[in-house]
């Protein structure tokens, strides 16, 4: 089965994608309303926390990070699959990515924006957030440039701004299509301004290709460095259970894993809501599912390596944290994390499930739940059972305020994402045209070769007679 029909007319591609900017199914508005309600919950919680103080989150001297930092890591991780689909697969000439990479890139941008909010929420005193930036403070002392927390701020800023530029540059030819086809109004003005007068001249395409490729080359090491640096927040500390060499690759694998699972979820939603069945096809879904399965197995391996490093490292405090994870108050979540992260993806191994949309939707949500639990299980158990027994606090449970803000962050991400998909084309029109064109050319060549071969055979037979 082919990834995409080769006989789709280019004009139809424009028409179908432009229609998505105007006429989504009703489900779109339902999702949007739910997202707004979720954001409302988070805003309410944040206002309450801001006015009352950080005590309402139940964070204390032992549990100084809590759900906020766990969710921050989760959202940073989510951003990685956009880079995987748009940059890595672009360099590898995997053209099946073309109908789906745009929304994956948007996912990268919006998940980074969501992650960034958690830094402010976690700080509590949001008006002093500039201390996290490389900026000389009141005592004329610069921040500590040797701290991974500062590296984090810089890496995330670099990743976010580069991802926005990558998304924007890649969208310029499509914005010109929107400009050419929209009726006069605010949308036309917006597309006219953003398309910068693009006309598809040979000079523009030539420079576009090189620029896009160059940014893709930069984004790949950047994505790896961002999550390695997030891992360094843990691995460079002396806390039991965190000081592990394999943390950076473990974090990167986890990031790609949760991102791929999120791509499956969003793929299914967009396919239905915007009627993209012809572009977001089942063979493409199958490829993403297989990729997710492969990454799930890499993550499982690195997870086991982490346990083995702690177990055979014979550092008693780290071993105690591991035992406490498996048998203490966090045990149900820890076992659930292992089950969702390593056992549930095994369903993706079976061919018949690789295109089973309802099942994949449920599995992708479960995988992301597992990945969120993974981050929580990295942060909380270590704090609850550190080196000093007088700091132990096994019974701390995050407050409703923390849960409310975490819950609302999913609404915030969904809101940004759905608004983006309604305002900007979530399928890259010019790249789908390229895909259709190159594939039809390849088929024509194959047919011509087959005809020539058949003619040669016939001639040989004639000669023999």
């Amino acid at each position: 089965m082919k990834d995409i029909r080769e006989d789709i007319a280019w004009a139809k591609i424009n028409k179908d994608v432009l229609k998505s900017l105007e006429n989504p199914r009703k489900l779109y508005w339902v999702i949007l309303l739910i997202a707004i309600a979720m954001v409302g919950v988070a805003v309410g919680c944040e206002i309450y926390q801001y006015n009352t103080g950080m005590g309402v989150s139940y964070k204390n001297n032992t549990h100084v990070w809590g759900l906020y930092i766990a969710t921050f890591i989760f959202w940073i991780g989510m951003s990685h699959s956009g880079t995987l689909l748009s940059a890595i697969l672009h360099l590898m000439h995997a053209d099946w990515r073309k109908p789906i990479y745009r929304f994956a890139e948007a996912m990268t941008t919006f998940s980074l924006m969501t992650a960034g909010l958690f830094v402010a929420v976690h700080l509590g005193r949001v008006w002093q957030i500039y201390y996290a930036l490389p900026y000389p403070n009141g005592r004329m002392v610069w921040p500590n440039f040797q701290s991974p927390l500062l590296w984090d701020a810089m890496a995330i800023f670099t990743y976010l701004s580069s991802s926005i530029l990558f998304l924007y540059v890649g969208m310029i030819p499509d914005l010109a299509i929107c400009r050419d086809n929209m009726n006069p109004g605010w949308r036309k003005k917006l597309y006219t301004a953003l398309s910068l007068g693009w006309e598809g001249t040979d000079r523009q395409w030539r420079n576009f290709r090189v620029t896009y490729l160059t940014i893709a080359c930069f984004l790949i090491p950047l994505a790896v460095s961002v999550h390695s640096i997030v891992a360094s927040d843990f691995a460079m500390s002396q806390q039991p259970g965190w000081h592990i060499t394999s943390f950076p690759p473990y974090f990167v694998a986890g990031a790609l894993y949760s991102g791929c699972a999120a791509i499956i979820t969003l793929f299914i939603i967009l396919r239905y809501v915007f009627k993209f069945e012809e572009y977001m096809t089942l063979p493409i879904l199958k490829k993403i599912v297989r990729l997710t399965f492969a990454i799930a197995m890499v993550w499982t391996y690195l997870n086991l390596i982490e346990y083995a490093s702690v177990w055979y490292g014979h550092e008693q405090a780290a071993k105690d944290v591991l035992i406490q994870k498996a048998t203490g108050p966090y045990a149900p979540f820890w076992w659930m994390m292992n089950f969702l992260g390593s056992i549930v993806p095994l369903t993706l191994f079976f061919k018949r499930f690789q295109t089973h949309i309802p099942l994949l939707f449920a599995v992708s949500l479960l995988l992301n739940m597992g990945m969120w639990l993974e981050r929580w299980m990295i942060v909380a158990p270590t704090f609850s059972h550190g080196y000093y027994p007088w700091t132990w606090d096994h019974d701390q449970w995050p407050s409703l305020i923390q849960w409310g803000i975490v819950f609302g962050s999913f609404g915030w991400f969904t809101l940004l994402f759905m608004v983006f998909c309604k305002v900007f084309p979530s399928v890259s029109m010019y790249e789908v045209k390229e895909m259709v064109y190159h594939r039809s050319q390849a088929t024509k060549k194959l047919e011509a070769t087959a005809k020539l071969a058949a003619a040669g055979l016939n001639a040989e037979k004639g000669g023999a007679h």
Binding site: W198, T201, F218
Partner: protein, 176 residues
Amino acid sequence: MSKRHLLALFSNFDEAEAVVKELRKIRIQGFNAEKDMIVKSPIEHPEVEGFLGDKPVRVQWFTLGGALAGGLLAFFLISGSQANFFAQLKGGKPIVPFPPNFVLTYEMFILGGVYISVLGFLICAGLPARRSPLYSAKVSEDQIGILVQADESASSTLKSIFTKHQALEIQEEAGK
């Protein structure tokens, strides 16, 4: 003599290629194929570059400059602030520690590279641009456009070439 713009639209790349080749070969008074011809297409098509011939792309130089400037700026900014060791007591540790400084240098190397590449793209691609004297929305849909600028006297010859190669539409406008 006043210049005239002509835009011809074609349904496929083969026809556009044939036109470009013929325009290159033919000698017309007041028309230079290298300067006065622009090919517009709805997709990035390597064959367009093939038949137009090699033209230099200079974005990479912007990238190199931006990346180096970003990396150097980061390193010297960080080292400069660390060198203020009267304010930040180091207790015998290196005043400018290279391994941790490398991380931010690396991030700024990428940041500079990406920002300046985009700037380079805008400069090299001539963006933001004003609309060409002739433009058809069909180019962003499914047709290939060839925009030429020539003396008024050459317009009938050019039109006949376009017509010979089955141009779907020919637009004409007096230029400056």
